[in-house]
Amino acid sequence: MGVEVERGATFTVVPVRRYGQAVLAVVVALLVAWLAAAGASSHFVNPRVVSQYLNNPLILGGLANTIFVSIAAMIIGIVLGVIFAVMKMSSNVVLAAVSGFYIWFFRGTPVLVQLIFWFNGVPAVFHELALGVPFTHVVFFSMPMVAFMTPLAASLLGLGLNEGAYMAEIVRGGILAVDEGQVEAAQALGMVSSQTMRRIVLPQAMRVIIPPIGNEFISMLKTSSLASVVTYGELLRRASDIYSSNLFVVELLVVASIWYLALTTVASIGQYYVEKRFARGTSRAERETPWSNLVRNIVRLGR
């Protein structure tokens, strides 16, 4: 290739040869082909069973439950997150300390333990759920704890409270990213702090909060599979219910995985468009495509 660098002088430009990369690509491609061939010849997955169960009513019901519990736990998490973020930033030391403890505790223990705690631990210790005036015998309403702590209730408590702790830190980061001058301007106009938070700070914090909420939701779609241990009939639970009677273990795990991949893929594409709306004018939004966002989400391994 000839390139004219200065008048009268022509140079030949030789691009860097990346031999290492080419070798690596060949090795990886061979490994993948070998794995695929081994998988295909071992007959460890029966594709007919997979396609037969893909739209089984029990599985589709589990899929709906997964979507429902993920969205509901996310909403609980966001509401709790906003409350605890504001509490943690409060000048009231009791509020800040309670919030700090909540975040420390729920982020510091496994969600799986929390789920089992709500489902098995709480009804074992507290036999009755009562609503009344504390420290008195006045009770407005009471019910047996086992009746209240259904698999769904335990799943929502476990996943929602855990999510709230992560969300609190995300929301706090978003609030801290809002310029102090905004609060000052709002106060100078006569707004009290709750008005300032609601009308001025939180709407601006949204720009910062929205992308990680998308990540959290995609993560939640997968984490919700842990609700299977408290017998909530979500996707994984339904798959395992089926394979424990027909013994097509791998096929049903493949069915569940296909649906999880479908959910996270759709959510990733949705996230791309939502982020694009909220990040208008910033350079990252322009660079990314739905595809690169998807790759980014799949490559990111859990949390």
Binding site: Q182, E184, A185, A186, Q187, A188, L189, G190
Partner: protein, 261 residues
């Protein structure tokens, strides 16, 4: 604190021995000042002399450590009943602040709202003005600062000078009895300073009581009724602009003016 004598509102702002500390740093070290209704006071002084801090004390964005400030006869931060002073709660404090307009060096417009929304937000939220009424008033104010056609623009779509004029309209929408300006033109490109000063000049002519921190000496001379020179947290010299800016009595004033002119 002993009971203060009742203050007739002869002064829009009156400060008496105001002290303010940030930790060890004593920023205001005994400020005494008075501003009459309809007066325009220009506050000048070197960086770090406490000008911004003093403005922020007037609308109680900062709490003073000693001394007293009255705005329109009412003690800032307190409610007086007989000889007892009750510290104001958040809502009472906010109501007092809503009667004082403030304009910032960096505009601080709400970026997620259009110019019009910026102007109607506080009247609707704080004063519970009906939307239609707030919008009508906001359009008048935007007209007054020369931005009627920019009502639907977001702050990021406006020049610095336009943003600052929206910020002035936003403050005026609360019908303040006093306007505080903290270096309103310092963040502007030189060619945009004039349009903001023109709006302020108009406001002064209309009889608004104003305290203006500024480095625009020509503007201070033409529009100010009085110039106050602050340095090191105290008032060093004050008087009519012609005197303070042309024939300063104090050595520190002379040094400051020589440096910035």
């Amino acid at each position: 604190m002993s009971a203060p004598a009742p203050q007739p509102a002869r002064f829009m702002v009156r400060a008496e021995g105001v002290h303010k500390r940030f930790g060890r740093l004593e920023v205001l070290r005994g400020i005494d000042l008075a501003v009459r209704p309809r007066e325009v006071m220009m506050l000048i002084g070197p960086s770090g002399s406490g000008k911004s801090t003093f403005l922020r004390c007037i609308n109680h964005l900062e709490k003073i450590n000693a001394g007293r400030i009255w705005v329109d006869g009412e003690l800032v931060g307190y409610r007086q009943v007989g000889s007892t002073l009750y510290e104001l709660n958040e809502h009472e404090q906010a109501r007092r602040r809503s009667e004082i307009g403030m304009v910032f060096q960096r505009f601080n417009l709400f970026p997620h709202m259009t110019a019009l929304q910026n102007v109607i937000e506080a009247p609707m939220l704080v004063k519970r003005t009906a939307r239609a009424q707030a919008v009508e008033r906001a359009r008048q104010l935007l007209e007054r600062v020369g931005l009627a056609e920019k009502a639907d623009a977001y702050p990021s779509q406006l020049s610095g000078g336009q943003q600052q004029r929206v910020a002035i309209a936003r403050a005026l929408a609360m019908d303040p009895k006093l306007m505080l300006f903290d270096e309103p033109t310092s963040a502007l490109d030189p060619e945009l300073v004039g349009e903001v000063l023109a709006v302020m000049r108009q406001l002064a002519n209309d009889g608004m009581t104003m305290i203006v921190v500024t480095h625009e000496m020509q503007f201070a001379r033409e529009v100010g009724d009085r110039v106050v020179f602050m340095d090191g947290g105290v008032v060093v010299e004050e008087g009519p602009p012609a005197e303070v800016l042309t024939n300063p009595k104090q050595e520190r004033t002379r040094g400051f003016l020589a440096r910035i002119l």
